[in-house]
């Protein structure tokens, strides 16, 4: 297992999530394991529909029917999250782990001023009085870098970047130890995105929380995280420190993701993208799920699913290629 530096905060082991549909069971997350250490930023990278958002929501058990967790363990600071009852989960959510979902900035209540939304969250989880909660809201705004006089604004009066900061302020309101963010910058412009991520990095240094950063954008993840896992077809296909993923990716999917990065200073010529479509979780390809799209697939890949094995210090990859060299 890829280990984080320092004390382990979140441990996900062999996680399995299944959807029970009218047409049968669909396994969307299959045997995924990773760890996030205290104060660490860990990334989960993968295509839309590949299961990464599902993993993020499964950790807090906020997946809606017809989803159910059908296997594995989730341990947070030693406690078994999957065995928790409603009360224990209530103490866990928001106070220990906060989740910023995709599109959260558009889910702010349009009829309430933003300060009310922060105050509501604080008072729903702690016995704070309104005045205390308002002070905390002002402090949070300072922390996320919004002018305190915007506390009285309605969401539609704020720009996209500011709304996302409000959402992050709400998430940090109760001082969680782990912040899970799912595509927090998708709808934002590149300058706003950069500023927001820099802000979050500063906050992490100041307040010491860990981050689980879920995204489809590998270069973006590399900016934020020190370690990451690559999710494909509901499985973890590679996990390593960010620098290793950038410089020595082993799995062909990771390599393709790195090659797809469109930046302004690297090589300019034409590149091939990743052909084909993500696998259908109802009928995944046999053997390695990536083989239909892999430029280096060979016979064994079609028959046998590769196991996650170590490729180097703190580097795991599930691919038959490396093995071939040693056999």
């Amino acid at each position: 297992m890829a280990d984080g530096g320092g004390a382990e905060l979140l441990a996900v082991e062999n996680l399995q999530v299944t959807y029970f549909t009218a047409r049968g069971e669909v396994r969307v997350v299959d045997d995924v394991s990773f760890r996030v250490g205290a104060g660490e930023a860990f990334g989960l990278v993968g295509e839309s529909g590949g299961g990464k958002s599902t993993i993020a929501q499964a950790i807090l058990r906020v997946l809606r029917p017809p989803a159910a967790i059908t296997g594995g363990q989730v341990r947070f600071a030693g406690a078994d999250v999957l065995a928790m009852d409603d009360a224990a989960l209530g103490r866990l959510r928001w106070k220990q782990i906060a989740l910023v979902t995709q599109g959260a900035m558009n889910a702010l209540n349009p009829t309430l001023r933003v300060r009310e939304q922060i105050v509501d969250t604080i008072r729903a989880h702690t016995p704070a009085a309104r005045r205390e909660a308002l002070e905390r809201a002002a402090e949070l705004f300072r922390v996320v870098g919004i002018d305190v006089d915007r506390l009285a604004s309605y969401p539609h009066q704020l720009s996209g970047g500011m709304r996302q900061r409000v959402v992050i302020a709400i998430a940090l309101a109760l001082g969680p130890k782990l912040l899970i963010m799912d595509e927090p910058t998708t709808a934002l412009d590149v300058v706003v995105q950069r500023d927001l991520l820099a802000q979050i990095a500063e906050l992490r240094r100041a307040l010491g929380f860990s981050i689980l950063f879920v995204t489809h954008d590998l270069p973006l993840m590399l900016q934020v995280c020190s370690r990451a896992g690559i999710i494909y077809g509901g499985r973890l296909v590679e996990a390593a420190p960010a620098a290793t993923l950038r410089r020595q990716p082993q799995h062909p999917y990771t390599r393709a993701l790195v090659a797809c990065a469109l930046d302004v200073h690297g090589p300019r010529g034409r590149r091939p993208g990743i052909a084909g479509l993500p696998p259908d979780p109802r009928q995944p390809p046999p053997g390695c799920r990536f083989h239909p799209r892999c430029p280096e697939a060979f016979d064994r890949c079609r028959r046998e699913a590769p196991l996650l094995i170590g490729r180097g210090p703190d580097h795991l990859s599930a691919c038959h290629l490396g093995e071939r060299a040693t056999s």
Binding site: F20, R61, P66, A67, I69, M84
Partner: protein, 302 residues
């Protein structure tokens, strides 16, 4: 993308459609089966008996026959008005919503004027001046009823007008008519179906109301005139409930059936909870609890 198959698999819809089908059959063949319902058949105000299932009216006519025969008159007018109101309302609403600007301002003014005019009083006044009969009633109801549908459809059209696929069709070179009929209209089918049902319900209720007031053609047999005669022949004070209850029940059943279909359309519009059944079976629960944490179901095998 049809409306038909999800409709047929919905129990409420099937129930409603079955009821409506029954009444439609009644409207089509009923009068043939019961003969002339205005015939004098027995002593007046006889309670229900084996000979006359629903008893007799204050004029000695068979109530059962009148109830059956009345279906055609009322339903025909209801259907006609429903179709006309939706057609006229959709035409005005779509044109106003699509073109916007001056066209919308002018049509909007027209719609607002008709909305302001109190419907039933106007209907009563007009019907009092025109020759009594179903045509008058239908005309009156159409004139007083189209504006509501027009306003609803206009709002939907305004929203659709701003969608990307409409802009794409415009850039493609699609004509105005093409955009309205091919791009916007198909996406408004559920709304039109719902408006149609609402219009029919309105029409039946208003028509019965007008005829009850004596503004219909009293020689015709329809549910409305049945109620008129029942009231005229002093039904309540004489305790002859059978002269108006069957007709009342019939009208209520039709309204109920229409409401069922309308509700079913609403359900279809929203995501079905059908997948939940398999989920409930797997988790061993009987119903979903809102906001419950994701359950953990471990199985022994892989």
């Amino acid at each position: 993308m049809s409306l038909l198959s999800p409709l047929l698999s919905n129990r409420k819809a099937l129930c409603g459609l079955a009821l409506l089908g029954g009444f439609a059959a009644l409207a089509l063949v009923g009068p043939l089966l019961v003969g002339d319902a205005t015939d004098f058949v027995a002593l007046p105000l006889q309670p229900p008996s084996a000979a006359h299932w629903f008893g007799t009216t204050g004029q000695g006519q068979d109530v059962f026959a009148q109830t059956v025969a009345g279906a055609r008159g009322t339903l025909a007018v209801g259907l006609l008005v429903g179709v006309a109101v939706v057609a006229l309302g959709a035409l005005v609403g779509m044109v106003a919503g699509y073109f916007g600007g001056l066209v919308d301002d002018v049509l909007g003014l027209l719609v607002n004027v008709f909305l302001l005019i109190p419907g039933l009083p106007l209907a009563v006044v007009i019907a009092a001046y025109l020759p009594a009969g179903p045509v008058t009633i239908a005309a009156v109801l159409i004139v007083t009823g189209w504006a509501w549908t027009a306003r609803v459809i206009r709002a939907a059209a305004l929203a659709l007008r701003r969608s990307d696929f409409v802009a794409a069709a415009v850039v493609s070179g699609e004509t105005h008519l093409g955009v309205i009929v091919l791009e916007m209209l198909p996406n408004m089918l559920p709304l039109l179906a719902s408006s149609f049902i609402a219009a029919v319900m309105y029409a039946i209720g208003a028509e019965v109301g007008l005829e009850f007031l004596g503004l219909g053609d009293l020689e015709r047999v329809s549910w409305g005139t049945n109620l008129y005669w029942a009231s005229n022949d002093v039904a309540l004070p004489s305790g002859s409930w059978w002269t108006f209850v069957p007709t009342g029940v019939a009208i209520a059943l039709v309204g109920f059936a229409l409401a069922l279909v309308n509700n079913a359309l609403d359900e279809i519009g929203n995501p079905l909870l059908d997948p939940a059944r398999a989920f409930l079976r797997a988790t061993g629960r009987r119903r979903l609890r809102l906001g419950a944490p994701t359950p953990v179901l471990r199985r022994d095998h892989g």
